[in-house]
Amino acid sequence: MTEQFSIKKYLRDLPLPFCPGCGAMTVMSEFLRAVHELGHENLSKFVFCSGIGCSAWIPSPHFMADSVHTLHGRSIPAATGIKLMAPDVNVVIFGGDGDIVGIGMSHFIHAARRNLDILVIMVNNMIYGMTGGQVAPTTPLRSKTTTTPYGSFEHPLDAAALAATAGACYVARWTTAQPTELKESIKKALQMKGFRFIEAVSQCPTAFGRRAGFKDAGEMLKWFKANATPVEQAHKTSEEERAGKIVVGEFVQRKRPTLVETVYEMIAEAKKQNEED
């Protein structure tokens, strides 16, 4: 590292939109810290895509970089077109749980299956925050939200397990109470190829915490710390014992031919056949 980390270096001079205590700030700063520690003086090697939701605001328009702020749930399709036609850029997606595994779930699974060369950072605050606190596919069972006033009657989704099953090359989950681990995972993922998924379990004191019984952001971070269970340990416990816990750590690290590799191999083959014809 040549100089000290300064977050401002990577940001446009615009007011940030996040509520006091929002975990998105942690994710933003840990991402930029990772970029800094990897030696990037600026974000010129990156293209950021996001959809709709609070965490879509992490890159757009705040990062001094190319950013494509798409429709709700459609960051991954846009990233597919970008990465295939501009394979040299590093495409990073920021999105919330509603954006990535609610409305955009199908694209998430298929991008992992195709092994599209992108890093998806999902800020999982367990709620639809921007719209005022409605139940999400990640909301814990029996949590009170504005659309589940008697408590959620649905089971939450394990997005990291889904990414692993669908074929991702790297899958990790941390909470915002573990910023260093989160940053190290981002660094590792940025240096890998293929579909990479990092879930950052994050606090939304405004739209989730206050209805779910947390006094403030600090209380939520304490809850994360108390319930974060390393994946190695979680494997040794029963499903009942894991209920309510947040399993953290690295779930998958593997190499598979990536979409960019297989597509450009196909192009080379087609061109060769064309010449032979």
């Binding site: 895509c49 702020h69 429709l71 077109g81 970008i82 295939l84 501009a86 694209h107």
Partner: protein
């Protein structure tokens, strides 16, 4: 009798002509999802695009298809998708995004019979209004309407040219009949084709979303710190919703950059429009009946004029108005329930009687005989 075919004449299917034209126009990316009667376009481009270094990819659905098209366009590629009514419905939100973000792209909608699943393999013309008003908000559309295999080729090229010139999504509104029939298409020599490419910014330029009627468009990865958003944004692409004037300025420009050039974009084929008793306004496969019907009825002593709409939107108002000022009556034959009829009636504004002629179901075309009969019936009343 077998016609002698020179090198530039091809006996093509409509969808094939569309795919060939896309490559000639410089398209290098297609994302699509299988749907009858549009699938051939993706199938042919899946074979042909890689040979020229391009990519055709089958996505998980139409939402993803049009999303990937938008992404590819921002990566600098001319990009397209091809679908039919149900898929076209799914794409509407992103078509609005492409309009708002000034993303050039081409959407081919090979119309089939709706609503809903309707009749997947049968022809219809029911997407005229969806092509115009399908996305939410204040929007202006460019929609082209081919009626031959030749025009499937020519209009696909024009669709890319208009998309690049005006930085907006352009819809090629074909139909099952035009897309699936085979006939000769004679290509202009490829060297003489006019191909328009988006204007790129000069170094140091920063206003990619305003200040000019059609601003220059950089690609990602070129070092412009490009901010693209479907939210109301200022000239530099930064979301800005606090000042209503920013929204007015943006959305009025997005609409006027198309509507101020309606005369240039609008394209028609006409006959006798300044001197006829009976006028016909038609488009797409239905319009193939007008030539014979006009001849048939003229042989019986009636003068017939027509406007064939080669662009549906912007609606060729001036030409249709001229016809309305001359013709005693105008017939609007179409394979839907009055979608273009009301538009003709609006333009005629009471200056002449506008008479609908509609046929839906089973993909049955309006035949020259039926149209002849209708003209005679209308002329006699």
């Amino acid at each position: 009798m077998k016609k002698k075919q020179d090198e530039n004449t091809h006996f093509w299917q409509g969808n094939e002509a569309c795919a060939e034209a896309a490559i000639a126009a410089g398209c290098r990316f297609l994302a699509g999802y299988p749907i009858t009667p549009a699938s051939e376009i993706a199938e042919i481009l899946s074979k042909k695009l890689p040979k020229v270094g391009g990519i055709a990819i089958q996505m998980e659905d139409e939402l993803a298809s049009i999303g990937a098209v938008v992404g590819a366009s921002w990566a600098g590629a001319k990009a397209m998708t091809a679908t039919s009514g149900p898929g076209f419905s799914l794409m509407q939100e992103t078509i609005g995004y492409a309009f708002m973000t000034e993303t050039p792209c081409v959407i081919v909608d090979v119309q089939r019979l709706g609503p809903s699943t309707g009749q997947a393999t049968k022809c219809g013309q029911g997407d005229v209004m969806q092509a115009r008003w399908g996305t939410h908000g204040d929007y202006s559309a460019i929609v082209l309407s081919p009626n031959s295999v030749q025009e499937m080729f020519e209009m696909t090229i024009r669709a890319f040219n208009l998309a690049e010139k005006y930085r907006t999504p352009v819809i090629l509104l074909a139909d099952e009949t035009t897309a699936h029939m085979r006939e000769n298409a004679t290509l202009p020599s490829l060297e003489n084709l006019e191909i328009i490419n988006r204007r790129k910014p000069k170094k140091g330029e920063t206003a990619f979303f305003g200040l000019e009627e059609v601003p220059p468009m950089p690609s990602v990865g070129e070092g412009y710190n490009l901010a693209v958003t479907g939210s109301t944004h200022n000239e530099y692409g930064i979301r800005f919703t606090a000042d209503p004037n920013v929204h007015r300025r943006l959305v009025e420009r997005l609409n006027s950059k198309i509507n101020n050039h309606a005369n240039e974009i609008s394209d028609v084929e006409t006959r006798n429009i300044d001197d006829c008793q009976i006028g016909i306004v038609s488009f797409g496969c239905t319009s193939r009946a007008i030539y014979e019907a006009a001849e048939n009825t003229e042989a019986k002593g009636f003068t017939v004029g027509y406007v064939r709409l080669k662009t549906l939107w912007p609606f060729p108002e001036k030409t249709v108005k001229r016809l309305a000022e001359t013709a005693q009556k105008i017939i609007v034959p179409e394979m839907n329930l009055k979608q273009v009829f009301y538009e003709v009636q609006r333009v005629a504004n009471g200056s002449t009687d506008v008479i609908p002629m509609n046929k839906i179901g089973g993909g049955e075309l309006i035949t020259p005989e039926e149209l002849t009969e209708k003209i005679l019936e209308v002329a006699k009343n």
